[in-house]
Symmetry: C2
């Protein structure tokens, strides 16, 4: 039996939001493996805001996806064929699978950089959330760049999203007051009632500035920014002396066809001797195991939760990706492929 490999390849560079027609579906037959190679069957794909940036032909922290190339994506899969001593058939692995039903190549491929995961430690979807890139981003971004101290106020935007939920929960574990910013009552209720945030500001129904005034009476010491735009500007008006702003992302700006909106209130950094610093999770790769150990421990003890939003079917990839930028996902967005 020759298996068909459904793939989504980048067909054109999107202008604004990525559309169906920016991807081309292809179906290739799987080939025989050469020595040292493996075939990984995709189980889940991780859908992340950063994917939009990878589609632009611009210098960034990672090279752009080429036109005609399989769209880049992280995910979890099962090794279904192996001519490598590194992985055995049946191993569950995490890595850069791409938006396709199967991945084939050298077991040691650096771009994919597969590693075995322990599916007994947590459900597979958690390995793309709290124990995956979003969790590592939250853990190292908060601890290393945000450097919160017990008793300080930590604000996080995209609070119900993949990174935000873990940022807030880890900050609570550290003894901070935690205030989320999210879109809609359902998400806000979730982060407060389910995840234990102290408060959450619904940016869709009220002024973020007023919300910060109400819920951060001691000001803001750490702001973990996933969204940029007007929300970043609002938080800048409420920061404390020596505050730390972690620039993790700017989802509000990724589909811009006009120039990015810079933070007009950035001079608050001067007045407050505060810091705004960017972070990219890959820099902490040699310590991921420490992040996984800490987060898995808290998960096991029930101190933190991992919330995923699972969409079914590889064929629904373009529509699922759009959900991220419309704020329609509730928790870490995952595509179930098989």
């Amino acid at each position: 039996m020759t298996l068909e490999n459904l793939q989504f390849r980048l067909a054109s560079r999107p202008v604004g939001m990525a559309k169906d027609t920016d991807f081309q579906q292809a179906a290739e037959a799987l080939r025989e493996l050469a020595d040292g190679e493996i075939t990984v069957k995709t189980l889940y794909l991780s859908l992340d805001p950063a994917m939009r940036g990878w589609m632009n032909d611009a210098k960034s922290y990672i090279r752009p996806v080429a036109i005609g190339e399989v769209m880049r994506a992280g995910g979890v899969g099962e090794v279904v064929a192996s001519k490598s001593p590194k992985f055995a058939v049946g191993d569950v692995v995490s890595g850069g699978i791409g938006v396709q039903a199967y991945w084939q190549g050298a077991a040691t491929d650096k771009t994919a950089s597969f590693f075995k995961i322990d599916s007994k430690l947590a459900p597979l979807t958690t390995w793309m959330n709290t124990l995956g890139m979003p969790g590592m981003t939250a853990y190292f971004g908060l601890l290393e760049v945000g450097q919160p101290k017990a008793g300080e106020t930590v604000v996080v935007s995209g609070a119900a999203g993949a990174v935000g939920q873990t940022v807030g929960q880890v900050a609570k574990q550290l003894g901070c007051r935690v205030v989320g910013i999210a879109g809609g009552k359902e998400k806000c209720d979730f982060v407060v009632k389910e995840l234990g945030f102290d408060a959450c500001i619904d940016y869709k129904t009220g002024s973020v500035r007023d919300g910060l005034k109400e819920h951060c009476p001691q000001g803001v010491d750490v702001y973990f920014d996933n969204v940029g735009g007007d929300i970043l500007d609002a938080v800048l008006t409420r920061i404390n002396m020596k505050a730390r702003i972690v620039i993790c992302g700017a989802i509000s700006q990724y589909n811009n066809t006009t120039p990015v909106k810079g933070p007009a209130n950035y001079l608050s950094l001067l007045v407050n001797r505060a810091r705004m610093e960017g972070m990219v999770v890959f820099d902490y790769a040699d310590r991921y195991h420490l992040g996984v150990a800490a987060l898995a421990g808290w998960l096991k003890e029930g101190k933190i939760k991992s919330k995923e939003d699972v969409v079914q079917g590889l064929e629904n990839f373009p529509q699922a990706l759009t959900m991220l930028f419309e704020g329609k996902n509730f928790g870490k967005l995952v595509l179930k492929v098989a």
Copy 2:
């Protein structure tokens, strides 16, 4: 003889650039001193971009000047009468004199915070420049926030200005490549030929972005920003991994009647894991003596220079202040009062 004290009091909050009519001239007779008080005769006043911010009724690192109050200014004066053991007649002091011919009050006044200066160590004008607030701002801002290492590239805007000239010269002492940004050929020639910068970009005659490409072939490791606006945005496109941007001021934005222009390229901080941090010189007050010692040493050895632009006459204060924002001063702007 009763001496008259000519004063400039804030008459109204300026919209945009401060105008003559935003100040009211007053002439008061000097009064008899009470015990513990001194009279200081103003010799020089320091004119600084920060003065524009002090005129706004906005929360900042220092309270606004009140309407009707003598305009705040630092300066150097001579004690001409004393009923305090702290200062003797003939002492030369530096402190918050205000825009007036004489200062009267308690020798221990905290707002004025006068201290004796050694007029043999350097000319009086240097005490408002390299050995005064601008020098301290440059020294501590560069060393503590910018943290340059030998061999790195340091860029400084307002390069011929009070802070910029010292930032660049100190960075050269530390073994850095130093590139200034200034307005006009004369200023650029000065910082390269007289102060020893490696290069200077004239923002008035060419693209700052192209200039950075040409003169910073290794990228930018430290950017000391005195101007904000488009120049900050241009530098953000050329920063290196782990770059440090010192937010010291934003003279291009201080007279805005429209909102401040935020740095549209701030996501370069993310891509480059870079940092943007604000600083206010007052935080280093307990170490000013260390900054003065280091800078006075380099001055004495001829390793650095102090360039002042002296305007004559207290009555010319409003026009002289305007020069700052039009980039018309060449070096630290000082008003000679007596």
